[in-house]
Amino acid sequence: MTEAEQYICIGCPIGCPLRLEHEGDKIIEISGHDCDRGAKYAKQEFTEPRRDFSTTVAISGARWNRLPVKVNRQIHKDRVMEGARIIHELQVEAPVKLGQVLIKNVFGEEGIDVVACRTMDRVIS
């Protein structure tokens, strides 16, 4: 049976409404795009929607209470909430360096790490 998914293309401010028809996992037709980027985007969203993911973790001994962190690769959209839960458990202690790996292989998957987005020195209060 043919089903359809709707997306809004994020490629440029025009925001074309995209329609992707599929049978199970098989893409039948993509329509609504004004340029190739839209078709590519719809395909990506259907097969594996990926997102940047950044958040903050608690840090002690630093100028601020929160340290900005990110996952060093885009992750599947459905993993964002799971990622947030795992990362929020983390407690770090200053000093931390920009790019320092805080959790290795965060989803048990090789190469997907949580890294610090800035340097935070130890502050003596």
């Binding site: 440029c12 958040t55 601020w64 209470n65």
Partner: protein, 440 residues
């Protein structure tokens, strides 16, 4: 990296001056504000060949608004990489420090005075050194902008706690580790509001909806999709907050659709339970300092009126970044500020460029353009914003050139390059810029 800017020593106030300290050291260029605008200007000034460049910032560390923007989306043009705000700031800061620019954080600039010989005296209230005066040849203003508050749009109702701007909430959540509330409504669909909706969801809050009085979102489509749709947060277009209820704390808000005249239709109003209302209703350049200097401001941008060298109406005082006009992309801030810094550095070295001979006039569907004038001697980049959505369309620059665009929206700044050979042929003294339908 250690906090080098913390170790910079400024001479203690001399005894001769009782209240005002006196700095022996003078600078070529002093930059006010240490955000991406200020850092770019400092680098630009160093590039022009001046040695003594100082950045002053009132916060405890430089970086500006970027430090609280922990999402990615910065630096695609400049670093050719998607970076988060803090990463962009730190990379830039390292460049600035490596380039021997001095940075004084915890230093609030409370005034600028100009001597009869053109030297500027910058009055600084410094955490470490008290009140000091810094002397300099040229100044770059890069104080950024601030958010419009409830008062700016006069939302009726009580005055409970729990009504705050989205950017302030961003600092609370991302740096200080405090949540503004549990059930959150957001007024305004600009990018900051959208990004905060996702942030608060990830932090375990409930976001009941984003309300926008215009019929379209003011934010990037990417943010509407990835910050709202991904999390099932509803976006209510053509809807506004008509009343805020609650004695000590926000208890609920009344929302209503708006009619054509943008007034709420109260017959269709409904109440929504929430304990917090975030406002994402626009930014205003922070120009108290400029005003105290008597600098001419553009009433539309809210920033200084600048020539093609980004010099304000006060000779030797330049401006860039959000204090000049509100930017949506930090990469544009960087580009503009490098330029402002370069011209400020030149000025400090005594270079005086010919006065601009062409005034720019914003015409049809152009809300503003910056800079406000051009000279015929070099290439120019003009930044502008349109008044309304138009698709497809073209930009017409006097009778010099036309450029086709697929789409313009007020939320996205338009950048236009004008080559010197076009201006060579031009003999008028005003140049009008219009954005017109494609077939006009």
């Amino acid at each position: 990296m250690s906090l080098k800017w913390k170790t910079i020593n400024i001479q203690k106030p001399g005894k001769k001056f009782n209240i005002l300290g006196h700095m022996e050291q003078a600078y070529d260029v002093v930059v006010i504000g240490g955000g991406p605008g200020g850092m770019g200007a400092a680098l630009g000034a160093r590039e022009s060949g001046v040695a003594r460049v100082l950045i002053l910032d009132r916060e405890s560390e430089p970086g500006g608004i970027l430090l609280q923007c922990i999402h990615s989306g910065f630096g695609l043009h400049y670093f050719k990489e998607q970076l988060t705000g803090p990463e962009y700031a730190e990379r830039f800061l390292n460049k600035v420090i490596d380039d021997n620019v001095k940075i004084m954080a915890g230093s609030y600039v409370s005034g600028i005075a100009v001597d009869s010989d053109g030297t500027k005296q910058v009055r600084v209230l410094s955490e470490d050194h008290g009140q000091v005066i810094v002397k300099t040849r040229a100044v770059v203003l890069s104080m950024g902008c601030r958010e419009r508050t409830r008062g700016a749009i006069r939302i009726p109702g009580t005055r409970p706690s729990g009504v705050l701007t989205a950017g302030l909430a961003q600092k609370f959540v991302n740096m200080m580790g405090m949540l503004p509330g549990k059930r959150i409504a957001i007024l305004g669909s600009g990018d900051i509001g959208l990004i905060m909706a996702r942030r608060l969801m990830l932090e375990g809050c409930e976001v009941v909806g984003v309300f926008e009085y215009l019929p379209y979102s003011n934010g990037l489509t990417r943010n509407v999709v990835q910050c709202l749709e991904d999390f099932g947060i509803p976006l209510h277009l053509s809807t506004t907050v008509a009343y805020i209820h609650g004695r000590d704390r926000v208890e609920r808000i009344t929302v209503a659709p708006v009619e054509k005249d943008l007034k709420p239709d109260l017959s269709q109003a409904r109440d929504i339970q929430c304990d917090t209302l975030l406002l994402s209703i626009g930014l205003i350049p922070e120009n108290e300092l400029s005003q105290s200097l008597g600098i001419r401001l553009d009433l539309i941008t809210g920033g200084p009126w600048v020539s093609s060298t980004l010099e304000t109406s006060m000779p030797g005082v330049f401006a860039c970044g959000n204090v000049l006009h509100v930017h949506d992309l930090v990469d544009y801030v960087t580009r503009e500020s490098l330029l402002a810094g370069r011209f400020a550095g030149e000025w400090a070295q005594g270079v005086r460029r010919p006065v601009d001979n062409i005034r720019l006039i914003p015409g049809d569907n152009v809300r503003y353009c910056v800079p406000h004038s051009l000279s015929t001697e070099r290439e120019h980049t003009i930044y502008m914003r349109c008044k309304t959505v138009m698709q497809p369309c073209k930009i017409r620059v006097g009778n010099l050139m036309e450029k086709k665009l697929r789409f313009v929206v007020p939320a996205e700044m338009i950048m236009l390059k004008i080559k010197p050979h076009l201006l060579d042929k031009f003999h008028g003294d005003t140049l009008r810029i219009d954005i017109l339908p494609e077939d006009a």
